[in-house]
């Protein structure tokens, strides 16, 4: 029985490593493309050359051109910069809200915990996507709106996770030792609690990234995201869908890049999750 469990563990570790490898290859590849690609391209993502509109992919335009004659390769990579940039900022903003919120609730417990978690319970009940769309329609579409609304979605999960972890960890002997040494809550949090919460927190953050990519692309697809002439991935897909009959490549390339990026982050998250579970 014991040997069986051991071998199962090894298998999941091997699978975790494979996921990590594939995931990081995809993610690093996309990030390098997003950073370096636009520099190598001789075309501007905004310059319209109507004479070369709707050209299929060839040696000159690797991904073809769009209906206004803009090079799709350049636009897709600029889109990657915009999408990934928004997502990174959004995930960090959520961390900045969720971490202190959860830590406060977990550390002080009692009435503070009851109050903070009650608020969380109510917020959990609100269907977030509908309200993101509603906010964006009212506030007006655009980068700031997307940033603010997406910044307020994922901290709920984080806060709950951090609170549950702090609740357990604060009873640990090493925290008692730190208290006995006269460390304040602030120092205990940074030096003792946070390092111990980091691996599961990293997994959660990694899983939030593909979700945020998904959501940002969805909002741009609805026309509520970054506005023309700039385009994030979702807007490119929306344009591609409109021209699907005559110029299918305008759909294929942005669609493929979004899916590969989401796949990469999903694999990375899963690999990391399996590794941390084994430890």
């Amino acid at each position: 029985m014991k040997r069986q469990a051991g071998s199962g563990c090894g298998r999941s570790r091997r699978r975790g490593n494979l996921h990590l490898l594939l995931g990081s290859l995809l993610v690093v590849g996309v990030v390098i493309l997003a950073l370096v690609g636009p520099l190598l391209s001789p075309y501007s993502p905004r310059e319209q050359v109507l004479a070369r509109s709707n050209r299929p992919p060839d040696g000159e335009h690797w991904f073809g051109t769009d209906s206004l004659g803009r090079d799709l390769f350049t636009r897709t990579l600029y889109g990657a910069r915009i999408s990934l940039g928004i997502v990174l900022a959004v995930v960090l903003l959520n961390l900045c809200i969720g971490l202190p919120y959860g830590a406060l609730a977990g550390w002080y417990g009692g009435l503070v915990d009851l109050l903070l978690m009650g608020v969380l319970d109510v917020l959990y009940g609100v269907p977030s996507l509908l309200y993101i769309i509603f906010f964006l329609v009212i506030l007006g579409p655009g980068l700031t709106g997307v940033f603010i609304t997406l910044g307020l979605v994922y901290w709920l999960d984080l806060a709950r996770q951090v609170r549950n972890q702090v609740l357990v960890l604060k009873e640990a002997d090493f925290v008692l030792a730190a208290r006995a040494l006269g460390l304040g809550p602030w120092q205990i949090f940074w030096q003792e609690l946070l390092p111990n919460m980091l691996p599961p927190l990293a997994v959660t953050l990694l899983f939030h990234i593909p979700q945020a990519i998904f959501l940002e692309a969805f909002l741009s697809y609805l026309g509520l995201g970054v506005q023309a002439p700039w385009a994030s991935w979702g807007a490119l897909v929306a344009e591609g869908v409109a021209n699907m009959r005559s110029a299918p490549w305008q759909l294929f390339f942005p669609a493929a890049l979004i899916s590969l990026t989401i796949l990469g982050f999903n694999l990375l998250g899963e690999g990391l999750q399996q590794l941390t579970r084994d430890d």
Partner: protein, 312 residues
């Protein structure tokens, strides 16, 4: 148990009130009101419009009227489709969306549960690897990518299925499948995980020791426990299908509520946006409540687990 039920009911009512209030305040924080467009309307017309939609009264009076209407399920007028109110549009369009959504969820459970069980029972086998790959791919394809691709392949290139509009079962196939892929993969993953978790349990060994056939052990003893998390997941799943339907109905030109919602975003038809948001929110909140109550009845420990601000 009773405390849990009462608490869940209370929270749900609080959520509904919060949603209504946020919606109301946002709607009325619009600079200049819903009729300020690119073209400036003459004063007299604006005045008439505001009287028609009762925008002139003080805020708290309008808030009271708004809540009163809501309690009577009157979601107010559309600001774009003249003479129609949101309730009429809901009555026309929601059946289409509901058909799509229910069929997609049924497909997701009908396919995802057996796939997940097989994956868990034959862990590490070739079949299991296939499921893992399928779910990883399914989770990485956003609906707005998958639906146009399927449309392109099966309707435009191969010509097997109609590309759009609302008609017979053939018209339903592509939209339902594109809507169901993501929930199917999520259900399959969830079932695979939760079945794998209960498989080593001692009560299953006991059931086998009693001489029960493997199929009976699985169906009668393992599944009832393993499927509770799946039931609990119905709420988020329904929310996901809802989001998907916004895209699907647009791509396949279906006359559903999602299409109206997205069109109302483009038209800035604030009345309709507000109405649909409130309607769908209430639906989701109600569904979540129902699922939680059902879970608590089926599995009393569920209520215990969630009593203190959620233990997951």
């Amino acid at each position: 148990m009773f405390m849990y039920l009462a608490r869940r009911l209370g929270v749900s009512l609080l959520v509904l009130w919060l949603i209504a209030t946020i919606t109301f305040l946002l709607m009325h924080s619009l600079p200049g009101g819903p009729f300020t467009g690119e073209k400036r309307l003459p004063e007299a017309i604006l005045k008439n419009l505001e009287d028609r939609y009762r925008l002139g009264a003080p805020l708290w009076q309008r808030y009271r009227a708004f809540l009163g209407n809501l309690v009577r399920f009157d979601l107010g007028p559309s600001y774009r489709y003249l003479g129609k109110d949101v309730n009429q549009i809901l009555a026309e369009a929601f059946p289409v969306s509901a058909t799509l959504g229910v069929l997609a969820l049924a497909l997701a459970f009908g396919l995802g549960i057996p796939l997940g069980i097989q994956g868990a029972v034959r862990q590490g086998s070739f079949f299991d690897q296939l499921i893992v790959i399928f779910t990883a791919l399914g989770m990485s394809l956003p609906t707005f990518v998958l639906a146009p691709l399927l449309l392109y392949l099966f309707a435009l290139k191969l010509g097997w299925l109609p590309p759009a509009l609302w008609g017979g079962p053939a018209h339903l196939l592509l939209p339902v499948v594109s809507l169901a892929v993501l929930p199917t993969t999520l259900v399959a993953r969830l079932v695979r995980g939760s079945v794998a978790e209960v498989l080593p349990a001692e009560y299953l060994t006991l059931a086998r020791a009693k001489g029960l056939a493997e199929g009976v052990v699985l169906n009668r003893h393992a599944l009832p426990n393993a499927l509770i998390p799946v039931l609990a997941y119905l709420g988020p799943l329904a929310a996901g299908v809802l989001t998907g339907s916004f895209v699907i109905e647009r791509v396949f030109a279906l006359p559903g509520l999602g299409e109206h919602f997205v069109a109302s975003i483009y038209n800035r038809d604030y009345g309709l946006i507000m109405g649909v948001t409130l309607f769908y929110s209430t639906l989701l909140v109600g569904l979540n409540l129902l699922v939680d109550l059902l879970c608590a009845c089926l599995h009393p420990r569920f209520a215990l687990l969630h009593r203190r601000g959620g233990g997951y």
